[in-house]
């Protein structure tokens, strides 16, 4: 009996030690995640401003080059250059949306970490509370928080114990067509 009590106390001590390290670590990790979000957001906003400025200047130059060359409106060459520029800007704007998507994915990681912290604090304070065992449903909650197919796929692969596999992407045009639904 005494041996069992000693083992239980050791187990309790080990879990308390784990919680005492994990609980303060979680806000640090989530703060690091939020800092990454803030920094990438600022960088994306700076990029938008610069792209807008470059795009406007390039269009003005193309129009000026055309009118200087012919004494009138833009030539075929300058129109073609403007179209290429516009297509490039479109691709850049599309690629820059990674910031919002990354932000959402990181938030979906940070949120359950904070829930785990709250749970561990309650567990340490009152380990015999039977309600605690019912309270934690992290897997389902995490799964419900997903909005992107890539998140759901990564979750499924991890649950199936698969290593990291790249998620196949459609070609740009296919992807864009699949992205729009008009009701």
């Amino acid at each position: 009996m005494q041996k069992q009590i000693a083992q239980l106390e050791l187990t309790k001590y080990s879990w308390e030690q784990f919680a005492s390290h994990a609980v303060p670590l979680i806000p640090i990790l989530t703060r690091q995640i939020m800092t990454v979000i803030e920094q990438t957001e600022q960088a994306a906003l700076d990029l938008i401003l610069k792209i807008r400025s470059i795009s406007e200047r390039a269009q003005k130059q193309a129009a000026y080059a055309g009118s200087s060359a012919r004494g009138m409106g833009p030539t075929q060459d300058t129109r073609s250059e403007a179209e290429k520029l516009s297509a490039d800007v479109s691709r850049i704007v599309m690629a820059m949306q990674f910031q919002d998507m990354t932000k959402q994915k990181l938030e979906h990681v940070a949120q359950p970490l904070l829930q785990m912290k709250t749970y561990m604090e309650s567990l340490v304070a009152n380990p015999t509370d039977p309600e605690l065992a019912k309270a934690l449903n992290l897997l389902e909650e995490v799964e419900r928080s997903y909005t992107m197919e890539t998140e759901r796929t990564a979750h499924r692969h991890a649950m199936e114990g698969r290593g990291h596999v790249g998620i196949p992407g459609a070609s740009a045009t296919e992807e864009e067509d699949q992205n729009v639904t008009l009701f």
Binding site: S90, V93, Q97, K103, Q178, N179, V180, T181, L182, F183
Partner: protein, 123 residues
């Protein structure tokens, strides 16, 4: 002066990218950071020709915002486009039932986005 579009998204980068895309094509843009702010602006007289809204936002989400807009007599038939990372059919069906006109999954292509905007706007 171009038509006015209301852009609702809690991400400033997304709001700015959508705004950049629309203003480059001659539209005026009114921004809101979530559904609640959008409802506030719409209730105080803003009458956009189109609303583009995200789905998941603090305070009030996109589906609730659509339901609120559809209650406003002057905006009952205003086109509303969802612009979101959410791609599940279930959520799309919820959006449709609430009164959305269309659903665009991020990331959006500016050229394609403008085509859709012009398609749903009343002539």
């Amino acid at each position: 002066m171009g038509q006015t579009v209301m852009v609702v998204d809690d991400s400033k980068t997304m709001r700015d990218m959508v705004t950049y895309t629309l203003t480059s094509a001659g539209f005026q843009v009114v921004q809101a950071g979530d559904g609640k702010e959008a409802v506030g602006k719409l209730s105080s007289g803003s009458k956009p020709a189109l609303v583009v809204t995200d789905l998941n936002m603090p305070e009030m989400d996109g589906i609730t915002l659509i339901k609120e807009i559809r209650k406003m007599p002057s905006l009952k038939f205003t086109p509303i486009l969802m612009l979101t990372t959410e791609s599940s059919d279930q959520k799309k069906a919820e959006g449709r039932a609430a009164g959305a006109t269309g659903w665009i999954v991020k990331p959006f292509n500016p050229d394609q986005f403008l085509k859709i905007v012009k398609k749903v706007l009343p002539a």
